[in-house]
Symmetry: none
Subunit: 243 residues, 2 copies
């Protein structure tokens, strides 16, 4: 059984040009919990002093980055290799979206890798041929120039979303108030409206009450919010300037 870290895909950058872009890719990876970066023949060698500042704190990814002479070496231990490209290729190969790839990676046994080509030119046909599948991000056909770090972050994001265990969303909402509390609020506001002629003409009183109730049940206010609204009403019952 592979360990959790082994199940995380490696991000492979093939012949990246600017150190800055390597740093940005590292940052994008770590934003969504990926930390295994592999570099194939980076143009300006490695380490690259421009990478660190661009990583904005994701130094651990850069420090552990491994360098390989060829893509074949970089993915030698990988069972599931995805080649990212936005361009159509004359290659007969399965094409998946980033979302589909993410699901496959979580389900598949063996190590996975997502491979990105150099800035501007993208992956060579030979690099693409090495992959099991093509990963394509559906993009605006009139403006398909996705930069390297952005392509990486979209793949990392989808991988993170697909991770079944990682779904503790920020949830500090209180449960909705009980029907009792809501009825108390509605009775309060009706009692204030009644002597002021709100329900006139009385032939419409049922519809008007229903309307009011619909409006006040719509928010799903919680206990504290209902209490605040009761406070508002109590305040409005006072005479002005006597507050």
């Amino acid at each position: 059984m592979a360990s959790a870290a082994d199940r995380n895909p490696a991000i492979v950058l093939v012949r990246p040009q600017l150190g800055e872009n390597i740093g940005k890719a590292a940052r994008a990876m770590l934003n969504f919990g990926l930390s295994e970066l592999r570099l194939v023949a980076p143009r300006d060698g490695w380490p690259n002093p421009s990478a660190g500042p661009a990583a904005a704190g994701a130094d651990v990814v850069l420090e552990r980055a491994e360098v390989f002479p060829t893509l074949a070496d970089a993915v030698a231990d990988c069972a599931n290799v995805y080649a990212t490209t936005v361009r159509k290729r004359g290659v007969t190969k399965t094409v998946v979206t980033a979302e589909e790839a993410a699901r496959e990676i979580h389900a598949a046994p063996g190590k996975s890798a997502i491979v990105f080509g150099p800035e501007r030119s993208g992956l060579e046909t030979d690099d693409v041929a090495r992959a099991r599948a093509i990963l394509t991000i559906p993009i605006n056909p009139d403006f398909p120039s996705l930069n390297l770090a952005q392509a990486v972050i979209l793949c990392a994001y989808e991988w993170s979303k697909a991770q079944a265990l990682v779904q503790p969303t920020v949830e500090d909402l209180l449960p909705p108030a009980s029907q009792d509390e809501l009825d108390g609020l509605i009775a309060h506001i009706e009692a204030m409206l009644e002597p002021r002629g709100y329900f006139y003409p009385y032939s419409r009183v049922d519809a008007t009450r229903r309307n009011l109730r619909n409006m006040l049940t719509k928010p799903g206010w919680n206990h504290l919010e209902v209490r605040t609204m009761r406070g508002v009403l109590s305040t409005l019952e006072r005479d002005p300037a006597k507050g």
Copy 2:
């Protein structure tokens, strides 16, 4: 019936600092088919010469960008306003993921806006209070520093993905009231509460106002509901028995 372009959300950048980041955000938007950029009080004015090169061809987005003095002005015509934040807020407000927001935006009638705070600091609590919901991107809690263009691209990407899924639904719900109408309601209730001492002690006035605004933005009341609520308030301003 709103046109297709009207259904696309506006991207609102609040007090962005660097022109370069505005350009990168514009590029990220256009990658996934969004083109309506609104800027609230950009630090270095507008236009900004650094934005163009960073937009890498997305000039049309920058050329059409509109500048507003405040967030209130920028979203005055919007019915569905999402405040993006990765930090937990002491605000009782619905929290949705980028994916959920994307689905809601496609389904909801009325204009939508996704609001992003300044680089580093993010949105102020008062800005967040103005929104109907908080949009949070579930991110690595140990490395949550998402840059502006990356946050924008993830939201634009989800919007684009959801577009493919949307079935045109028969919509007999009324669209939510505009931010303008909502501001009118809030001003009305505050004007009634003020002379009755609701905001005493004044040291807490900002928090109390924010609390009230959060509560009243939560329902997503439509035009008729806001008008009904205004009618309720006008009735409460009368003396009892004189109705």
